[in-house]
């Protein structure tokens, strides 16, 4: 890096950010993170990247702390859950998945928010008293990270209900009713607590922003087509080749849905911005808001979170198609959507599942996906979002927290 560029970077940072993190790093030459050096640097494995990152922000960061486990409501949930063991209710799967689900465990979301908080530091407008010195983040930012996890968990739990409309046949309806009741209430419990935690932060811009993320999550479950259990299927691929651009702004407005459907990349982006990118983006934006940073940096924070969530999703979408893996895959995962775009006749396989996705011949879909360029395209998709997320990181000064974020992104690559 040339000296002039270095000085430029430093001075730019000093005007945008003036925080303990900066002060701390003032004499350290700024390192640019690029996609290639992040990728080819010592490639950390996922678990190590995450556990090292947790130490940086003072872990445990999960809301599954004693405070929550000791509440009456959660004790009640545990009691009811025990009754459900042995039944088929998907809530059990959700609960297990929340506690351990490889790269998608819930702690990771709060962790990202805390790392962004620490990497950005806070402005002089925020009194030092409000900082948790040992972790280098504000108490309010830690609360926001909890809110992020609560909102996300609440959504996953609500998604795990069983549809028991009169017209639907379900086995063991008694268990399913009990499971639905407890899933609905647990989700509501988390959501209502997130409302109170947010209200305590006394920042109405933030309340509005995070509420809009809850709205987006709810919206995600209405993007059609859906089967009888509300599982998503891809829309019929469109051949008009019409380009579709949105998602460039970070706004409180709802997303336009219909135009994205049938266009592989737009549809995938829409679905996953709604059910993941929006929450992580808005949380990152919100944490910069709490630290007193400029609107401009807040927008960059939003984009970072959104790109990271999408890179993450693309990574998860590829896993079931990796060599030797025969895992279940989602019909709206990127490989399937790209495969459909490449080979629209494949939609006849998808259509069989419009009532119930279990009627889809997954083995046949898998063969068609593997035969085409879809996996390569998904890899590119992940690369694009990883790159974009890393670029945003360069807005922040070099620090251990920033490195940890870069490591997490790098660990997502193969």
């Amino acid at each position: 890096m040339s000296l002039s560029k270095l000085t430029m970077n430093l001075s730019r940072n000093r005007t945008v950010l003036c925080s303990s993190a900066i002060a701390h790093n003032r004499w350290v030459p700024k390192r640019e993170i690029t996609y290639t050096n992040a990728q080819y640097a010592k490639k950390p494995d996922w678990n190590r990247a995450v556990s090292e990152a947790e130490k940086i922000v003072g872990y445990p960061n999960s809301f599954l702390s004693l405070r929550w486990l000791l509440s009456d409501e959660i004790a009640n949930v545990a009691l009811q859950l025990r009754k459900l063991v042995g039944s088929n209710h998907p809530l059990l799967k959700t609960a297990k998945g929340l506690l351990y689900n490889g790269k998608n465990n819930m702690q990771a979301w709060g962790l990202i928010v805390l790392l962004v908080s620490k990497a950005a530091g806070h402005t002089a407008a925020v009194p030092d008293m409000e900082e948790d010195k040992s972790a280098g983040v504000l108490h309010s930012q830690r609360a926001l990270a909890e809110v992020t996890e609560m909102i996300r968990t609440s959504h996953l739990v609500h998604k795990g209900l069983v549809n028991m409309q009169p017209c639907v046949k379900v086995e063991a309806p008694g268990d399913m009713i009990a499971g639905n009741k407890i899933a609905l209430l647990s989700g509501d419990y988390l959501l209502s607590n997130s409302c109170v935690e947010l209200a305590n932060l006394k920042n109405q811009d933030l309340v509005e922003l995070m509420s809009s993320a809850v709205r987006d999550l709810a919206e995600a479950e209405f993007v059609e087509p859906r089967d009888i259990q509300n599982a998503p299927l891809p829309a019929r691929p469109r051949t008009d080749g019409k380009g579709y651009e949105q998602f460039v702004d970070c706004t409180l407005e709802p997303l336009v849905v219909s135009e994205a459907l049938g266009n592989a990349r737009a549809e995938w982006t829409l679905r996953h911005v709604l059910n993941a990118g929006s929450l992580l983006g808005k949380s990152c934006q919100g944490t910069l808001k709490l630290a007193g940073h400029s609107e401009e940096l807040q927008s960059k924070g939003y984009l970072f979170g959104r790109h990271l969530a999408l890179a993450w999703q693309a990574c998860l979408d590829r896993e079931p198609f990796a060599g030797g893996s025969g895992g279940q895959f989602s019909l709206v995962s990127a490989p399937v959507l790209f495969a459909l775009q490449h080979d629209p006749d494949m939609y006849s396989l998808i259509e069989k599942g419009l009532d119930n996705i279990e009627n889809v011949d997954y083995a046949a879909v898998r063969r068609r996906v593997l035969a085409g360029p879809a996996l390569e395209m998904t890899k590119n998709l992940q690369r694009d979002h990883s790159k974009a997320a890393l670029e945003m990181l360069n807005e922040l000064p070099d620090s251990d927290a920033r490195t940890a974020l870069a490591n997490i992104i790098a660990a997502m690559q193969d």
Partner: protein, 348 residues
């Protein structure tokens, strides 16, 4: 049980009747209330481009509800504005918002209740869980709450946001309390009253409190508003629980003895226990054995449970009236008194 009984007898002396006024709150608030549902629907419309979501989310905002929560919120707001500012007492736009938000939070919880209780009918039409996928219905409830939270945030008032988010927590905790029957006989009535506060009264009390905060009322007036709403809300639920035993399915828009069928022991049953201790085991097993619902229904009618419930409701209404009388005399303040009478004497 013993404590609740002494509570009831202690106050048996003067039932007293409500003063009568020629004021109908729905008439004096006609202009304020006529657009409530339109406004809520348009707020929801602005927040989604998906018609399937919009349809579920607006299903209960069809204009056929009694809008009792918005009515109470606006009535109190106007009474307090008058109390404080006399002539300059127009309803603030933010107070109108609070009225809408109250109805939205209430409806979001109804939508989730319908999934939990597997209900068939509400307000004389098939309930949401019969018409739509339960996952979508649940998400539609979350959506209504999220839009309401955005509206709350836009009021840009830290205290109001705190007060209204407390309501959301109360609603959920009340629902949790309804799940368990671990409490002993002695604790049961207190448990029931706390549950009733959280599930019904908190929303009314805290929405009128918000209206008072927005009027910049002092602590004393704000507390009057809160307590008025709390007492009115408790009375409202007591009467609701009573009507579940007496009105016809047609008048309620839902079947009678619905609470018993859901395994819930409300005030009439809890009072009836004093005379018929055989109700205790039925309460503990949540009326699940064959014949329990019918037997309990019969015993409630044989006991003084309904009278005692009515009496307790009356106590709370009288307290609400006393509080309303602490506010400056105005048509809206009179309206608060009439509203308490409505609550006590409504037939459905």
């Amino acid at each position: 049980m013993r404590s609740s009984r002494s509570f009831a007898t202690m106050r048996t002396q003067q039932p007293g009747s409500m003063p009568e006024y020629q004021i109908d709150p729905y008439v004096i608030l006609e202009d304020d209330l006529k657009d409530v549902y339109d406004y809520i629907r348009s707020a929801l419309r602005r927040n989604t481009f998906q018609d399937n979501l919009y349809e579920i989310a607006t299903y209960y905002f069809d204009g056929h509800g009694k809008a009792i929560r918005p009515m109470i919120a606006i009535l109190t707001a106007r009474a307090i504005n008058y109390h404080m500012y006399k002539r300059e007492s127009d309803l603030l736009p933010s107070q109108r918002e609070v009225a809408m938000i109250a109805e939205m939070i209430h409806t979001a919880s109804l939508v989730h209740d319908d999934v939990i209780d597997q209900s068939d009918f509400r307000r004389g039409k098939p309930s949401v869980n019969v018409k739509w996928n339960h996952k979508k219905v649940t998400m539609a409830g979350d959506f209504i709450l999220a839009v309401a939270s955005m509206m709350i945030a836009r009021l840009r008032n830290n205290e109001v946001t705190s007060v209204l988010s407390q309501v959301v927590t109360d609603l959920v905790q009340g629902e949790f309390m309804q799940l368990g029957s671990k409490e002993t006989e002695n604790e049961r009535f207190a448990h029931y009253l706390t549950k009733t506060y959280r599930k019904t009264a908190s929303l009314i009390a805290n929405s009128v409190k918000s209206a008072a905060i927005l009027a910049e009322a002092d602590e004393k007036v704000t507390e009057i508003a809160f307590q008025y709403g709390r007492n009115l809300g408790l009375a409202f639920q007591l009467v609701d629980d009573l009507l579940d035993f007496v009105s016809s399915a047609e008048a309620m828009g839902k079947p009678t003895a619905a609470d018993l069928k859901l395994g819930l022991a409300t005030a009439p049953v809890l009072f009836a226990c004093e005379k018929f201790p055989e109700l205790n085991p039925m309460i503990m097993r949540r009326f699940q054995e064959p014949g329990d619902v019918e037997k309990a229904f019969e015993l409630v009618h044989k006991s003084r449970g309904l009278d005692q419930t009515q009496f307790l409701a009356r106590q709370h209404c009288q307290e609400a009236v006393r509080l309303a009388n602490l506010l400056a005399d105005s048509p809206y303040q009179k309206g608060l008194i009439v509203a308490a009478d409505f609550v006590l004497n409504r037939m459905k």
